[in-house]
């Protein structure tokens, strides 16, 4: 079963002049697949990613996550799907500034509430370790470098063992070395752990690491 199936997914902002962000998008993501979305600036890549990640509500079409149709879900139900099945990594790390790296990684586990406190700490530490951040666990985001922050964000995306990781220009704000590091990590997550990864990128090097590329122009998938 596909992890994600989008059929004729569309999103139009209403207003005096309605703006179509995404139009009739058909996307299928299989388990362990690393897919890259590419396209010119303003073409609707981020908009599509928000729709796939249930951050935004489509105005048309269907979206199945792990076999379940999510159209008609209310805010809380969509939040629950995000919590259990999806991890996000954004261009800017989006960590909570007042918490340590470890607590940031723990945050989704606390909301899920399946693990006890010590088990949460253990898992968060293990995730940080696997991303080469063993010594940075107790630092605040402001005390970390850009690449380190992005790896903390990846660790947090993995907190609740998601099926799907959605990344919006995860290397957009990083130098070459850090970019390569993040790319390798995502590649491994797909190949070794069987997670599905959808990443928006402008970086041709990053795109070459993917299994498949989706091209989008003016809100429409062209390839």
């Amino acid at each position: 079963m596909s992890v994600l199936v989008a059929e004729k997914l569309g999103r139009t902002l209403d207003g005096e002049v309605p703006v179509t962000l995404v139009q009739d998008a058909d996307v299928t993501i299989e388990r362990g697949e690393f897919v890259v979305i590419r396209g010119p600036s303003g073409s609707g890549k981020s908009s599509l990613l928000y729709l796939l990640g249930l951050l935004d509500k489509p105005t048309s079409g269907r979206l199945l996550i792990d076999g379940k149709d999510t159209v008609g879900f209310d805010d809380d139900e969509r939040a629950d799907v995000r919590l259990r099945k999806i991890g996000f990594v954004f261009q800017f790390h989006f960590l909570l500034g007042e918490f340590s790296a470890l607590d940031n990684v723990r945050m989704p586990m606390r909301k899920l509430g399946q693990l006890g406190e010590s088990a949460q700490v253990e898992r968060a530490q293990a995730l940080l370790d696997s991303l080469g951040l063993a010594d940075q666990a107790h630092k605040r985001p402001s005390q970390l470098s850009g690449g380190q922050r992005q790896r903390v964000a990846i660790a947090r995306a993995l907190a609740n063992d998601p099926l799907l990781i959605l990344a919006d220009e995860p290397t957009g704000a990083l130098d070459t070395k850090s970019s390569e590091n993040v790319r390798l990590i995502l590649r491994e997550l797909a190949s070794r752990e069987g997670r599905s990864i959808v990443a928006v990128t402008h970086d041709p090097g990053f795109a070459s690491a993917a299994d498949r590329q989706v091209q989008i122009v003016d809100g429409k998938i062209v390839a």
Partner: protein
Amino acid sequence: MRRLVDTSPHITIRDQYRNIPKQAAEQLYPQGAIALRGVKPKTELRGIRQYRKHLSAIEALGGIRAAPILAGQAIFSFAGRNEAVSLSGIVPSKMRDVSAIDEDMVAGSLDALDVDTNGIVIGRALAKKLSLRMGENIIVVSPSGNVRPMRIVGLFETGNSNYDETQTFANLTRVQALLNRPNVANTIVVKLDDATRAREVAATIEATIGYKSVSWQEASKDLLDTLVVRNVIMYSVVGAILLVACFGIYNIISTVVLEKTRDIAILKSMGFHSADIRRIFVTEGAIMGISGSLLGLGLGLLMMRAIAAVEIRPPGYTGVVHLPVYWGFDQFLIAAGFAVGSAVIAAWLPARKGSRVQPVDILRGAT
């Protein structure tokens, strides 16, 4: 307030009627057009007649204690000095139930008036003024000219110097004889188990026995009205302060919510519900409310102690009086409850607004 209720009689029945008795002609012809002027009223023996019957009727109402009093004027004559005093004839056993005078006795007792029917109880201030001591005899002269030697069997001191210098008590039967008013009383003093019922009980009594019955509420109407006005002012001021505090908390939480919009978006994108976000900010408001209340209670207690320590020497009073301060626990609970409650409400509004943040709106703006 409680002091007022405790020290004064709950109901006072006097030998008066609320409405002037109608003239004979009017009684016969209520619709008649003639009014006789200058009719000379019949000379009556004033007082509550058959007071014993009335007394048992009143006591039959239940939860009620009543004492008959015949109050009049008399002159004390001692060692060539004359002193006008108020002389009240009382029944000691009944008087004790309705008045605090028994607790103010500094020598002898009210009961001695039963033992020695020639006995008299006077204020210590009066005794000092006339250089009298316990057990000494004085001559009591009534307005109608009756003269009787009486013996001092008790001294009291209430602290009210006017009262202590002019009020005296003797046996009711003795005073009736002295004042030529046998078998009457002119006042019945009533205490109730439940002082709040005084108004209706007074009305019942007045309806049954006809004499004017004044409840403490009626007697202290001016004071009670002042208290009502005071309460209205107090609650308006407290309400206004609370409102200002609410705006303060509302502002703080609004600012915090605004500052944390990005964090709210992060938490919600992760899978936190709106309710989780609301809870965070309402909790913050509640913590502010609770710590503010604790601080306020502490300050309030200090201020109350300062007020209670103020010493006042009212004119005409021998003792030192402290401002009455109510230390009841309930008022602290109510104050803190209102403060925390309004803090939570003040925090809830911005918290609700914050919880409605859609993460996608923030993400769109940021990337």
